[in-house]
């Protein structure tokens, strides 16, 4: 705590609390949101592709293109 006399002085940021914490808050919120979206996208992709494989049959999944209705409806 060499820079700060107390925790309240720390949170006050020399009167610039809104600007400093507004910057850090939004940044970390966006990073957390991005992480959640990326991990959820993986889950969705796996679920959707599994359903697609079952729908077209495992053998034809290899050869045929995905029916647009299955692939695009949930993206």
């Amino acid at each position: 705590m060499a820079q700060w006399e107390s925790w309240s002085a720390f949170w006050d940021m020399g009167g610039a609390a809104f600007y400093v914490w507004g910057s850090y808050g939004l940044t970390f919120a966006l990073m957390a949101l991005e992480l959640v979206l990326v991990l959820r996208r993986r889950k969705d992709t796996v679920t959707r592709l599994l359903r697609w494989r079952r729908a077209v049959g495992k053998d034809s999944a290899r050869k045929t293109g995905a029916p647009v209705s299955v692939m695009e409806s949930e993206t």
Binding site: M1, A2, Q3, W4, F10, M13, G14, G15, A16, F18, Y19, V20, G22, S23, Y24, L26, T27, L30, M31, E34, L35, V38, L39, R41, R42, T45, V46, L49, L50, W52, R53, K58, A61, R62, K63, T64, G65, A66, E72
Partner: protein, 258 residues
């Protein structure tokens, strides 16, 4: 790429079926490094770096603002590089990388603008001015949005890849304009505090905090982009046997837990 004489070289990882598991193994380590470095950077930035003589405490926005601005420019250049590689060598993984980078680049670009606005108000008296640095950075955000919108709007992946690659390459011209804008024009935005040619104009601990946060942003970007690329690869390679095997494995994991 699957020729046996190359199978032991780095080119091996240009094949999606080799890249996919590698990315899955590496990403958590990059995420962990990002977490540790962020905590170290915050500690340096808030508890070690001194109060700025002229700006007081508000300057501490720098520990996010500068790394985010650097990342937003650098990610765009890497996107352009992967796009060029994809166009020249026709490697589909290059386009995946390019598109996996875009949302993170856009995020950092927005963060740079947002933190800049919050820093500008108390120091310049305005959230926004139409200064060359700010305007070119705003253009970068629009280039990211344009790239993302275009690659998602075109249904045929090959055409989407090529159209995106062209935006990435043309838009890359804007990056040196952002970087040098503070020298070329008389801007309200200050000049570079850190450059390769002269000693940095700031306290060592401030500089250190900023660099640690910059490396943390790097690690975060690599982790998130690898994770995003994995989903994109599954989608694009869904007709292959190896993705079939991956999906069956995932189904078993799910079944085991339920």
């Amino acid at each position: 790429m699957n020729a046996p004489e190359r199978s032991r070289s780095l080119f091996r990882f240009a094949a999606p079926n080799n890249f996919y598991p590698l990315a899955g193994r590496l990403a958590p380590w990059f995420a962990f490094a990002a977490l540790v470095l962020t905590l170290a950077g915050l500690w340096l930035g808030f508890f070690v770096a001194p109060t700025d003589a002229t700006q007081g405490q508000v300057y501490r926005v720098i520990f996010i603002h500068v790394p985010a601005a650097w990342m937003s420019m650098f990610i765009y250049l890497v996107m352009a590089l992967w796009s060029a590689v994809g166009l020249v060598m026709n490697t589909r993984l290059s386009f995946v990388m390019s598109q996996a980078l875009a949302p993170t680049g856009a995020m950092f670009c927005f963060v740079a603008l947002w933190t800049g606005a919050l820093w500008g108000k108390p120091t310049w008296g305005a959230y926004w001015v139409w200064d060359a640095r700010l305007t070119s950075q705003l253009l970068l955000l629009f280039l990211y949005f344009g790239f993302i919108a275009l690659t998602r709007a075109i249904e045929d992946p090959r055409r989407a890849d090529r159209a995106g690659a062209i935006i990435a390459l043309v838009g890359a011209v804007n990056v040196p304009i952002i970087y040098f804008s503070v020298q070329w024009w008389n801007t309200l935005h200050q000049g570079a505090s850190v450059s390769l040619t002269k000693a940095p104009s700031m306290a060592t601990t401030m500089l250190l905090g900023m660099l640690v946060m910059a490396i943390a942003a790097w690690m975060y970007t690599i982790a998130v982009v690898l994770w995003r690329a994995r989903s994109m690869i599954l989608e694009r390679e869904r007709h292959t046997e190896w993705v079939g095997a991956v999906l069956e494995h995932e189904a078993q994991l799910k079944g085991g837990r339920a």
